[in-house]
């Protein structure tokens, strides 16, 4: 083989997760290479959120392996607290810390978890805020911001940790429609800069342009996966076709 060595950041193999008797993930395999944007779609309740939460250790899994940067979760020198600094996550709920200003929100991780200097970290924070068009809001509190602005700040907060991979869980799902675009544009910008990401979304137009690879989940398993272009123009499975059809009026 002459192909160059693949640079795998995240390797999930046979992942199983259940809550009591209820099986939520039933053997999921996903491999994410550096710079790749993987979009995960599927009906509500199929396990997308659970999958992302397993990847940064907010949930424990019952079977299979999660390997991040070559280290397997649960192995000897694997520490979720260190790994989470390299795995950025943005949730559906607005999750900024309400008692802190925008800047304090962004700097909490860099200063306390990563022990960086305030000077260096706030320089980066300001640059990132400029990029998302919110530099003038550094000293505002989250309550003073709109939902879309809060989600952009949440993205900046994750980015400022210099993660190796970013996880987005339906970050526009609770936004008013007119704010969806500004948030998706930011995510798209981050993707174009080469950030590795796993994105759960119901925005099919966005998925189409942002995704390198699409994974379609149903009932805790991957029902279909493939390059974005193929998947959206010609889904191989009937189930994926039916799912996509629910997004279009005919």
């Amino acid at each position: 083989m002459t192909a160059q060595k693949r640079d795998v950041i995240l390797d999930i193999k046979g992942l199983r997760k259940s809550y009591g008797d209820k099986i939520v993930l039933n053997g999921v395999d996903i491999c994410v290479e550096r710079g790749e944007a993987v979009v995960i779609i599927g009906p509500s309740g199929c396990g997308k959120t659970t999958l992302l939460r397993c990847v940064n250790g907010l949930e424990t899994h019952q079977g299979g392996t999660i390997t991040i940067d070559g280290r397997e979760a649960g192995s000897k020198n694997f520490d979720w607290i260190l790994v989470r600094q390299k795995v950025g996550m943005v949730f559906q709920s607005y999750d900024l810390f309400p008692h802190m200003t925008v800047l304090e929100n962004i700097l909490l991780g860099p200063l306390r978890a990563q022990k960086r200097t305030r000077e260096e970290a706030s320089g980066q924070a300001i640059r990132l805020l400029e990029r998302v068009g919110l530099a003038d809001r550094v000293n505002d509190f989250p309550r003073q911001l709109s939902g879309g602005q809060r989600q952009r700040i949440a993205i900046v907060r994750a980015l400022c940790m210099n993660p190796d991979i970013m996880l987005f869980d339906e970050v526009t799902a609770s936004l008013d429609p007119e704010m969806v675009r500004e948030v998706l544009d930011v995510i798209l910008g981050v993707a174009r800069q080469g950030m590795t990401m796993m994105i759960v979304t119901h925005e099919m137009g966005f998925a189409r342009v942002a995704a390198d690879k699409v994974i379609f989940m149903e009932g805790g398993v991957i029902a279909e996966e493939g390059p974005a272009k193929e998947f959206f123009t010609l889904p191989k499975t009937e189930r994926a076709r039916r799912f996509l059809n629910t997004f279009y009026f005919e």
Partner: protein, 225 residues
């Protein structure tokens, strides 16, 4: 002309004695509040343990202090100690003990309720940026708990201060007892003394508790988000 009786308050000696009595009460209140805050926070966090037996035990303890009047608790410890130890515990000590036990239970319940009221995603997004469990509490959970708990904690403190007037029944020389002594001493020549003395005590309690509740309002405004 009929004596208005106001001059009981003009006696320096009377005022000094009232203030000394007040000092005794406030001392009991201050010590009990301090103990309650410290033990209450520990108690509150302990109550969040998943152990149901621990929690059930705490509920019984808390309800016992809610259902049984504080005065009965004071008597129980004061006269009970004579039976158990053969000698009365000091009234001051019994008071601090009962008020601390009560305060700890109420404070523990407040802390527990408040911490649980903080949304799960606050814990999770703090964990998600790689903070250690202690850092999550230190920077995210405790500051929000403080803001949420301040009004009801301060309310508890004023309730405790007010209730310390009961210590007179276990022989502590508090402001009420001093007031009563002064009234009785002046009974003959000044029948209005009780009005002025109790009025004065009313004012004193108001002057202590009002600023505390003002302060709580201010905090609430400052910390609203």
């Amino acid at each position: 002309m009929r004596n208005s009786g106001f001059d009981v308050l003009l006696s320096l000696n009377n005022l000094r004695r009232l203030m000394l009595g007040l000092g005794g009460t406030l001392e009991i209140a201050a010590v009990s509040v301090a103990v309650s805050v410290i033990l209450g926070v520990l108690c509150g966090f302990a109550m969040m343990s998943k152990n149901r037996a621990v929690y059930a035990l705490f509920r019984v303890y808390l309800e016992a202090f809610r259902i049984v009047p504080i005065l009965v608790w004071l008597f129980l410890f004061f006269f009970g100690s004579a039976i158990v130890f053969g000698a009365n515990l000091e009234g001051w000590f019994v008071s601090v003990l009962v008020f601390s036990l009560w305060g700890t239970a109420e404070m523990g319940d407040l802390v527990r309720g408040t911490v649980l009221s903080i949304p799960a995603h606050q814990w999770q997004s703090a964990e998600a940026i790689g903070l250690t469990p202690w850092q999550v509490r230190r920077f995210v959970i405790i500051p929000q708990t403080l803001r949420r708990i301040a009004p009801s904690a301060i309310n508890l403190v004023t309730r405790m201060v007010k209730t310390t007037s009961l210590v007179v029944f276990v022989g502590v020389t508090d402001i009420l007892r001093v007031g009563k002594q002064i009234i009785e001493f002046n009974m003959m020549k000044n029948p209005m003394a009780s009005f002025w003395i109790y009025g004065f005590i009313f004012l004193i309690y108001f002057l202590i508790c009002y600023p505390i509740s003002r302060f709580s309002k201010k905090l609430e405004e400052k910390w609203s988000y």
